[in-house]
Amino acid sequence: MLNDASIKEIAEIRTKYPNSRAALLPALYVAQREFGWLSPEAYEAVADLLNVPKATARGVGTFYAMYKQKPMGRHLIQLCTNVSCMILGAEKLVDFLKNRYGIEPGGISPDGRFSLVIMECIGACGTAPAMLVNDDFHENLTEKNLEETLEKYR
């Protein structure tokens, strides 16, 4: 079910821990990277590979906010609205994303280009408001530079 590269990567991760259960979180990341989200099949593949119960894999995976339980858009916007970002205008940016791209928090844009997840502090409070797009930080956001930034992600 998982491709050979993922299986190899998980085997290598496994060597960093004294037992295979401890490799569960990183292995779920590998599966998520391959499939874009953690489908029932992805959970099953990881569970089989690490020899942990399927219910355990799913129970652990659904506890953590960064494991995706449904398909995502091509690019993942993780926008912080916690206090430091909120008092510097993050909520307006949420409205802007809704109006400009048709994305609701937790949802996906109609063209499948973006997913939006509202975050609980991403550690960029000194340059608030801030977001991650995929793996990249974008800070000191305004409606203008938010749009300019997102236009780079097609």
Partner: protein, 420 residues
């Protein structure tokens, strides 16, 4: 003052091992390996180092408990799960000075006779993950990690374990659960991790900033280190300041620097010359302070005497335009989202507090809601495994304690009275 933790971070290549070595990096490690483990613990005791994650626990004491446990192998875990809202102090170390942390961990590992270390890194720091992995590889390649370090017979293996977006994993027993491949739900203590921690072995969990102090303590000696900061609480401290100040950012200052000086001297005062309304001094879980209470020295000993806590040193500054009911509501939304669900008072209490605050903010509050908030908060305090529930309850108590009229006005006017 001369920076210790953030030394050389203006250098764009500061994360590289050669640049770190150029400014004296990895000179403490050989010195430490030449010392007996107990000697290192003694230096840390003389230094008076207290844990920088928020609790301020004496590091030498924690280490002594773990070192005394006869079980092996022992584990050293670095808590890099900085998720306390307002906190971004460890990020410059992780992204720009990773080798100071690695050097600190090898020294600490030797002191504890621990052969395995993990850096539990929050999922929200993808750049740091790549930087740390690269730095760890460089350290292995230079025989500074792995077997027989520098040919002195010391072994220390280190790997990054990435979290996945759960604030609770910053709590040490939840972090351990998560590292073991489970949901991040705290364990009851005792047993303490120093005896039964990760994989049921003696485990020390220390914060990024704490461990990054070790190279300097070994270099300068515990006594010299103890001259920085205050006698009760020595050392440098990273303060991360956000919100309505002219110059937000991470500042390395002596422990005990006054909150007022951090805001007005170092950060240039309130943005746009507006009036200060409130300060959360140590991350969102620490009690909010009104403007007349900011003369306090920022350290673990003095802050409680001034009605708050040092926490993670995350200072959130709010000017007169901010609605504090809204801030309190947002804070509780956070706690509700991040409650792990294990303890009923926290799981239910955070949800109810959020709901009541929400209706007050939206203009549907009723007379008696403030007392109801205090009643719910009072029924959470001290009734949970970990401090998340206590934090949530005390946030509500302290916002009401200092800013009750603002809550009353919202209820009376049936709308937000700050931003209409």
């Amino acid at each position: 003052m001369e920076t210790i933790l953030l030394k050389n971070i203006q250098n764009p290549n500061s994360a590289d091992i050669d640049e770190y070595k150029k400014v004296g990096g990895y000179t403490s490690l050989p010195k430490a390996i030449g010392m007996e483990p107990q000697q290192i613990i003694d230096e840390v005791r003389k230094a008076g180092l207290k844990g920088r994650g928020g609790a301020g626990f004496p590091v030498a004491m924690k280490w002594t408990f773990a070192a005394a446990d006869p079980k092996f192998p022992k584990y050293l875990l670095c808590n890099a799960d900085e998720g306390e809202p307002g906190t971004f102090k460890d990020r410059p170390i992780l992204e720009k000075n990773p080798h100071i942390l690695i050097e600190g961990m090898v020294i600490s590992g030797h002191a504890l006779k621990a052969e395995y270390g993990y850096i539990y890194l929050r999922g929200e720091y993808p750049a740091a993950k790549h930087i740390l992995n690269k730095a760890i590889k460089q350290a292995y390649d230079n025989n500074l990690l792995g077997e027989n370090i520098l040919g002195k017979g010391i072994t220390f293996h280190l790997a990054v374990h990435q979290g996945a977006g759960a604030y609770i994993c910053g709590e040490e027993t939840a972090l351990i659960e998560s590292l073991e491949g489970d949901k991040g739900q705290p364990r009851i203590k005792p047993p303490f991790p120093v005896n039964i921690g990760v994989f049921s072995k003696p485990t020390v969990v220390n914060n990024v900033e704490t461990l990054s102090n070790l190279p300097y303590i070994i270099e300068a000696g515990g006594e010299a280190y103890a001259k920085i900061g205050t006698p009760d609480c020595p050392g440098p401290k990273l303060f991360c300041v956000s919100g309505h100040v002219e110059k937000p950012g991470v500042y390395e200052l002596p422990m005990g620097t006054k909150l007022k000086d951090i805001i007005y001297t170092h950060c240039g005062g309130i943005k746009g010359g507006k009036k200060l309304k409130a300060v959360i001094p140590g991350g969102i879980s620490t009690p909010v302070l009104p403007p007349d209470k900011i003369e306090c020295p920022m350290d673990f000993v003095n802050m409680p005497k001034h009605g708050s806590m040092l926490g993670s040193g995350a200072v959130i500054v709010m000017d007169e335009t901010v609605c504090l009911v809204k801030v309190c509501h947002r804070a509780l939304k956070f706690f509700e989202h991040e409650s792990c669900g294990k303890c009923t008072p926290c799981r239910e209490g955070t949800g109810w507090l959020r709901a009541i605050l929400g209706r007050i903010e939206e203009g549907h509050g009723t007379e008696g809601d403030i007392d109801l908030l205090l009643s719910v908060a009072g029924n959470m305090l001290g009734k949970t495994f970990c401090p998340l529930g206590d934090g949530a309850a005390s946030v509500v108590q302290n916002f009401i304690k200092h800013f009750r009229p603002e809550f009353e006005e919202h209820i009376k006017a049936k709308k937000c009275t700050v931003n209409g």
